[in-house]
Amino acid sequence: MEDPSKSTTSEAHTLSDSVDLDDATRSEMEKAGVIVSSVDWLYNWARSGSVWPLQFGLACCAIEMICSAGSRYDIARFGSEVFRPSPRQADLLIVSGTVTKKMAPQVVRIFNQMPEPKYVIAMGACAISGGPFKQGYNVLKGIDRYIPVDVYIPGCPPRPEAVLHSLMTLQKGIRRQRTLGKGSNNPAYVEGNREYPVPSFSGKDLDPPYNPEVWQPPEKRPNMPEDGCP
């Protein structure tokens, strides 16, 4: 039952709960780190060693993303050169560039189309917050308003080294995750099949302006003006 290959469905966490072990034995085993942790280790090792990004470029940052696959940087060393064109086979969505309001529904839809476990890297100032185009009427102020982001890369555009570093950070994060047993912190299994509502673009603005499940506007500080900009 501990075999992760059986837990392809989102009910994985309930599945591992139904293992015929009483809690005492389980905790003892976990203390001893016998099966659960070694399966977890193998699972994390495999996932972190083969993160396949989606071949998906938005703007300027996409060029640096492609550069990171080039011979000077070579993302292939980490096993991630397999840029899959179809979201169905990808693990990692690199939001590389400015997300406009017309494009945001498509980005969320692509995230929904990806199978679990999936990760998101927000690459560049635009994807994080709107960047230099933040004041514009057609630019989404950060993709994290709609989908959960695992790693942010600042920069405009970030260098390919930064892309590699973000990938290594993501790998570290994956290795820290615990999937089996109580207290799992792997969102792919705890939250199940993560699918977020696709905002609709009315031609003027996005509806809703953000997804409250994922993002909440920061609390207003007393000395700040209404629009939140100093």
């Binding site: 992760p4 060693g49 070579d74 292939a76 086979q89």
Partner: protein, 407 residues
């Protein structure tokens, strides 16, 4: 060794023939499946490393020594990934298609002799069965394209059917020459026919050494042309570059696998490579002397027929050499277009394969002492036919242009 073990087990189980039969099949099938799954893993590593070297990169090197465990990591990841079935797809066929690809490719392996007595299913009509089962691949790919209910998948599936059906004909025709010359459909006999009889049994070790190569069909005019036709058609049959149109990623996303994720995608991947192994295995069997290769008499043995290098080593060596050629081609060539692909099959490969059949028939009836001259003439004739065909096909032959400059 494995063969001896299998024979021993079957001997032990002789009391119940039914059980012996089942165990016998399992004993043959399980090693086959494992060995080729390992071959697949190694090939994906070789491909990623090879492509990386072609492109001045290093390639995977973080997971295991030299990135050797990369396929294992990929495998575990793909098995544990969520399996998405689009709501509007045909669920049953969506499930069955990847299985069909894998099963048909695996079944093809049963007829390939990997070494002496290492044919899983030794039957008299192996070549016919091989092509019959290989044809299922086409069906499975089309099923995948159709069942996904994605327009890109559909386009990929249609392309795959057109391509595979048209390339199957030159593939079979070039195999027909071998069958004609050997006079048997049994793959073991075809391999046996590629050893020069007198030399292989001679007392002279040098002649014995040569006898294992000199008889390869690829060194005859019809065999040479047949091998080239077979190899090109095999590229198309297994969807390898430059004929990878059914999954052309710059045009139709991922073709028929666009809607497949997780384990089903892995099955497609596996099935495709196993299919490539099977077709290459047949190419080796028909033209490259099967498990034969230059060999020596081991120093500890006094039996002149004992071989130092076991046959299957030669077989797998040849297979990986051909696989490396495939990877090399993949890293170098752009892709053809649909109509060019079809016209290449029907207007060039098919006539050439037909002419080749006639040449083989002609050589079959030439008396033994005239063989040499006839072979040279056949070589020249085949070359001229190929040249003429390519000239005829290109009414406006594409050529590099001269450019002028404005000051």
């Amino acid at each position: 060794m494995l063969v001896q073990f299998a024979n021993w087990v079957q001997g032990e189980l002789a009391c119940s023939p039914a059980l012996a039969k089942i165990v016998g099949i399992l004993l043959a099938a399980v090693p086959l499946a494992t060995v080729f799954a390992l071959c697949f893993a190694f090939t994906t590593w070789l491909e990623r490393k090879g492509l990386a070297r072609i492109q001045n990169r290093i390639g995977p090197n973080r997971v295991g020594p030299f990135g050797l465990f990369q396929p294992i990591a990929d495998g575990i990841k793909m098995i544990t990934k969520e399996d998405i079935v689009p709501r509007s797809s045909d669920h049953f066929f969506h499930l069955i298609a990847p299985l069909l690809v894998l099963v048909s490719s695996m079944a093809c392996l049963a007829f390939i002799p990997f070494g002496l007595g290492m044919t899983m299913s030794p039957i008299d009509t192996a070549v016919v069965f091989f092509f019959a089962i290989l044809g299922m691949n086409t069906l499975a790919v089309f099923l995948a394209g159709w069942a996904s209910r994605n327009k890109y998948s559909l386009l990929g599936g249609m392309r795959a059917v057109a391509q595979m059906v048209s390339y199957e004909i030159p593939l079979v025709l070039s195999a027909v020459t071998v069958v004609m010359m050997v006079g048997s459909l049994d793959t073991r006999e075809i391999v046996g026919a590629q050893v020069v009889e007198g030399w292989a049994t001679s007392e002279n070790s040098g002649l014995r050494f040569l006898g294992q190569i000199a008889g390869w069909h690829v060194f005859t005019p019809w065999g040479f042309a047949g091998f080239i036709i077979f190899f090109i058609a095999a590229l198309a049959e297994t969807n390898r570059s430059p004929f990878d149109l059914p999954e052309a990623e710059s045009e139709i996303i991922a073709g028929y696998v666009t809607e497949y994720s997780g384990f089903k995608f892995a099955l497609f991947f596996l099935g495709e490579y196993i299919g490539a192994f099977a077709v290459l295995g047949l190419a080796i069997t028909l033209f490259l002397g099967g498990w034969n290769g230059p060999n020596f008499q081991p120093w500890w043995s006094s039996d002149p027929h004992a071989l130092l290098i076991p046959g299957f080593v030669w077989f797998f060596f040849k297979m990986f050499v051909l696989m490396a050629v495939l990877i090399w081609i993949r890293g170098t060539l752009p892709r053809l277009r649909v109509d060019q692909l079809m016209s290449f099959a029907w207007k060039f490969l098919l006539p050439l394969a037909l002419v080749n059949v006639f040449v083989a028939g002609f050589l079959f009836h030439v008396a033994k002492e005239d063989r040499v001259w006839a072979s040279v003439a056949a070589f020249v004739f085949l070359y001229l036919v190929a040249k003429g065909l390519s000239r005829m096909n290109q009414s406006d032959a594409p050529a590099p242009r001269k450019y002028h400059f404005a000051e």
